[in-house]
């Protein structure tokens, strides 16, 4: 009997601890959401209100009316999806060749992939900027797209997957007279959908959230993504209008949240794989 009580007490404590952990990570998001619907004057109150006394959409309205938000969102969307599309056509064949062919210079080519994995954009931006200036494309979205056309991690991930596909399947396809591109499309890709989706999710998350690269590559607001412009809300008024700032923050976080609700298992698995590598 006593043992049973002890067990229940232990169980309750453990559940309480877990709820506390969950709260610890959820609370900042709660705070972001409720601040975004509080009137500005209420955000100045001391002590702060845990639940809005008054609700307002003015934060969202002001963010949307004070800047050309459609343009910045579309910049982000164009950049993100162009990158994902380019990566498909560049990374998939490369991963296939690294996985299934022996050729002269393979080690050197692999070395290039590995080296690119280690070199961060926080360093290469200095000279890449000059290169884009020489190419005369600084007033386009290309500087935000081109450097990410090839992605070393996606090549790792896909190569690993392509290696596991049985050789017999390839041989059978070749006997049927299929060319290499057809083999990629009809055999490799259908059998590697999960890696492919993982790679696409990574790119989406990474470029939707992009901050540093567009910051150093763009001079003109009309080329900037939504992230940089949300930060700009801070400068629109004297003092910090946290209603508006949190409304902007909610707008950029929402797509990631929706993605996570649908794909959390896949995202977590792929990220864990990346971390173990």
């Amino acid at each position: 009997m006593k043992n049973k009580h002890k067990k229940i007490a232990k169980k309750t404590i453990s559940v309480a601890v877990k709820l506390l952990i969950a709260l610890f990570f959820l609370f900042p998001f709660y705070w972001m959401l409720i601040t975004s619907v509080k009137p500005y004057l209420e955000t100045l109150q001391w002590p702060p209100t845990l639940w809005p006394e008054q609700f307002t959409w003015s934060g969202y309205e002001e963010v949307i009316s004070s800047m050309d938000i459609g343009r910045y969102l579309s910049n982000t969307i164009i950049v993100t999806f162009t990158i994902i599309g380019m990566q498909f056509f560049i990374n998939v064949p490369a991963a296939y060749a690294f996985a299934r062919f022996e050729f002269k210079g393979k080690a050197a080519a692999w070395g290039v992939v590995m080296a690119s994995f280690m070199i961060p954009g926080q360093i290469t931006f200095i000279t890449t900027y000059f290169m884009f200036a020489d190419m005369g494309i600084l007033n386009t979205l290309w500087p935000q797209i081109l450097p990410f056309g090839a992605n070393a991690f996606a090549i790792f991930l896909l190569r690993q997957n392509f290696k596991q596909i049985p050789t017999e399947l390839l041989e059978a396809a070749r006997l049927d007279g299929a060319g290499e591109w057809k083999i990629i499309m009809k055999v490799m890709i259908p059998m590697s959908m999960s890696s492919l989706i993982a790679a696409a999710l990574f790119s989406f998350i990474g470029h939707w959230n992009a901050y540093f690269w567009p910051l150093v590559m763009t001079q003109d607001d009309k080329l900037r993504p939504i992230t940089i412009m949300v930060e700009r809300i801070k400068d629109l008024e004297q003092g910090m209008n946290y209603t508006n700032i949190m409304a902007g923050t909610t707008i950029i976080t929402l797509p990631i949240l929706i993605l996570f609700l649908f794909f959390s298992k896949r995202i977590i698995q792929a990220m864990a794989y990346r971390g173990m590598k």
Partner: protein
């Protein structure tokens, strides 16, 4: 045929990553502003960096940031991993909630924490409830750097917990059970069994966190812009300032070259350890 498939990727890497890095190393021996041609100056930019107090400060701050982040992130991730070790529904949900900040933009997280750490923000309200004086988290040079660390720790715990959890599950159950039979309490079990058993994985995290800490920029720029004073000046912010604000590209490139050397050394250590780990398995 394989050449046609590999060439586009290799070309992109060479043009947009490898060449810019080599060009940056070359640039670090030159004086350059956009108006004139590059002028060779030998090691002058490096001499400038050695004498420049701000660069020393940036290195020091980056180092302090890294040490704090490595320590707190690994410590909390270990504790949370042990808490959430058992397979259960509630643990799976909590893991997902913890993980979400990792995929949010640093911009969003930083803005939310800037609000939480505001003088009239929630953190100070909580301190007030306990009759403690409020802090000027990001506005005081004594607390700014640690405040930036707090944000990075909070954002990164979920991800690192996840990695330690999958390592934890690979520890043979018998070893843990044997220690429980021997009467080891949870704290003893934690330090005598779990930490030593996970040490290869912990070491790898130590290196990956160090590598990413040396590249810290977004949170610093959004939260403190290197200030107050220069208390949160870090290496990448220094490079950014010299390239984007002061237009002294040669000096920025020299600082970048030093950073890439540090990162290459860390990466080589990382791969050596990974190789060794594979051998053991």
């Amino acid at each position: 045929m394989p050449y046609a498939m590999v060439t586009p990727a290799v070309l992109f890497f060479i043009v947009f990553t490898i060449y810019p890095m080599l060009d940056m190393i070359v640039l670090s021996f030159h004086e350059y502003n956009v108006l004139t041609d590059r002028k060779y100056v030998g090691l002058k930019n490096y001499e400038y960096l050695i004498k420049n107090i701000d660069f020393g400060l940036a290195l020091k701050n980056t180092f302090v940031y890294t040490v704090c982040l490595v320590f707190f992130l690994i410590f909390f991730s270990l504790v949370f991993a042990v808490c959430l070790e058992k397979e259960s529904k509630i643990n799976a949900i909590v893991q997902r909630i913890m993980f979400f900040p990792h995929i949010c933009s640093m911009l969003a997280i930083s803005l939310v924490f800037q609000w939480l750490m505001d003088e009239n923000g929630l953190f100070n309200a909580v301190l007030n409830v306990f009759k403690l004086p409020g802090l000027r988290w990001l506005e005081s040079s004594t607390t700014a750097l640690i405040s930036v660390v707090i944000v990075a720790v909070w954002k990164g715990i979920g991800y690192h917990t996840l990695i330690l959890l999958s390592a934890l599950k690979s520890i043979p159950r018998e070893i843990i059970e044997a220690s429980e039979i021997d009467g080891a309490g949870p704290i003893r079990k934690f330090f005598k069994i779990i930490v030593p058993m996970l040490s290869p994985q912990i070491f790898l995290l130590l290196i990956t966190i160090t590598i990413s800490s040396f590249k810290v920029f977004d949170s610093v720029r959004i939260l403190t812009a290197g200030g107050p004073g220069k208390s949160t000046m870090v290496v990448v912010y220094y490079i950014y300032l010299y390239a984007q604000q002061y237009l002294k590209y040669g000096i920025a490139a020299a600082a970048g070259t030093i950073l890439i050397l540090i990162l290459i050394v860390m990466t080589i250590i990382y791969f050596k350890v990974v190789e060794k780990k594979v051998h053991y398995e």
